[in-house]
Symmetry: C2
Subunit: 229 residues, 2 copies
DNA sequence: ATGTACGAAATCGTATACGATCCATCATGG
DNA sequence: CCATGATGGATCGTATACGATTTCGTACAT
């Protein structure tokens, strides 16, 4: 159909890319709940594409762990259970710790200032009980800390981890009430560590512990053993 | 063509899967050199498939970093430069360190025995100067150490890292002559650490340092600064 | 009533077709 | 001689078509 529309000034991005972005947004935003069945023809019709680019988009999402694929059956939005959450958080703790350490020497004074500002906003969210906004600002805060990581592979893995997490409702701090407040305190310590030019290994372990603590709070609530590392 | 062959008893694996495996094998084995142009129609003709499954396979390989894709231009086998090697090794050092630590409590006495055997084989390779065999056995050795890692995401990332490395000729120890011998020594220490039930953090850092040392030997040879972590 | 066999509908996997885009080559003008 | 624009071929991106497979409902036998 689009091929019969020569008026089109050449799509800036391919349709597979568009389908990929659209679906990723819907999954990470939670408008597509885990377990939801992603039928090729349905999605294609809705987007006005053929099934081919949609198929490719689903494959990419599968590679990132946002959907699961079963041959001759189809794709579904990846579900969440305690085990998947553990594995995702554990992986992210390792990767994000390394990314934060690698980025630390490249952090500017402006970054620190902005991070401090965001952390005050986080505190305000606690007072006003705005969990959704808390999650959003929390993302921004950490993005500042690991954003300068000079290793693109590690940075990519961090982004994938965050995407997976945001696709899980368990990622919000709703489930572990007390944790959010403690998290804000740890942010301040982490900033002080980076600001003082601490040893990279120390920064890595602090960033990792910050995430592991959230994970373990959840695991304890589920009567499960904590993460081994 | 296959659709006109109803005699086919239903392929056990899809053609995209076959194309993926075939191409991955060729790239990691080095029979497709970096920079090689991967033309859809050519590959499709050679495998006897249509371009659609081949296209999907290339996309998957792109997600793993084995090929690079450029819109409306095509795919090429991912090239290697010092920077890419640094990033890949650095990522793998972090991930494999974590995987080895997580797997350590699950290592059996048989695993240790087999790892010791392989390390003796590695020593023999040094004497007889068999670099190809050394690389192969080195893979097996480490696969034993991280193989029991209970976190499938981390395990998957380790495998991807090894795949990327084996696609680089720089991964062989050819380029850093003295390193192979030292590596064998470190293997023994790593085994002793795991066997003694050492702290997981200590094991993680030893496994990471083992890889970082190889990376830094290469970096020093290239007159480049060592890895920050 | 329950389990099994069969058939239809839904959906996926892949082949083919063709427009869209890029790149190299060559002609043309300065 | 070099810069610039036109032209053709190579290759990609996507629509459409259809066989293959799974799934689910229904009828039948036990």
């Amino acid at each position: 159909m689009s091929t019969l529309t020569p008026a089109g000034p050449a799509a800036a991005v391919s349709k597979s890319e568009q389908a990929y972005e659209t679906l990723k947004e819907r999954i990470t935003s939670g408008s597509l709940v885990p377990g939801y069945r992603l039928v090729l023809s349905t999605i294609a019709d809705e987007l006005g594409f053929s099934v081919v680019p949609v198929r490719e988009a689903l494959r990419r999402l599968e590679a990132e762990g946002l959907v699961t694929f079963e041959r001759n059956v189809g794709a579904t939005v990846a579900g969440v259970d305690a085990m998947l959450y553990l594995h995702t958080m554990q992986t992210l703790s390792v990767i994000e710790g390394a990314a934060t350490a690698l980025a630390a020497p490249l952090i500017t004074a402006e970054d620190i200032t902005r991070a401090r500002y965001l952390n005050r906003e986080l505190r305000a969210c606690l007072e006003n009980f705005e969990p959704a906004r808390f999650s959003r600002i929390n993302n921004d805060f950490h993005a500042i800390l690991y954003g300068h990581c000079p290793n693109p592979h590690i940075l990519d893995l961090v982004h994938r981890g965050w995407n997976r997490l945001s696709a899980m409702r368990a990622s919000t701090f709703d489930l572990v009430p007390g944790r959010a407040r403690q998290s804000v305190e740890e942010h301040e310590k982490l900033l002080a560590l980076i600001e003082s030019g601490a040893d990279l290994h120390e920064i890595e372990m602090a960033a990792r512990a910050h995430r592991t603590a959230t994970l373990n709070a959840y695991m304890a609530q589920q009567n499960q053993p904590p993460s081994a590392i």
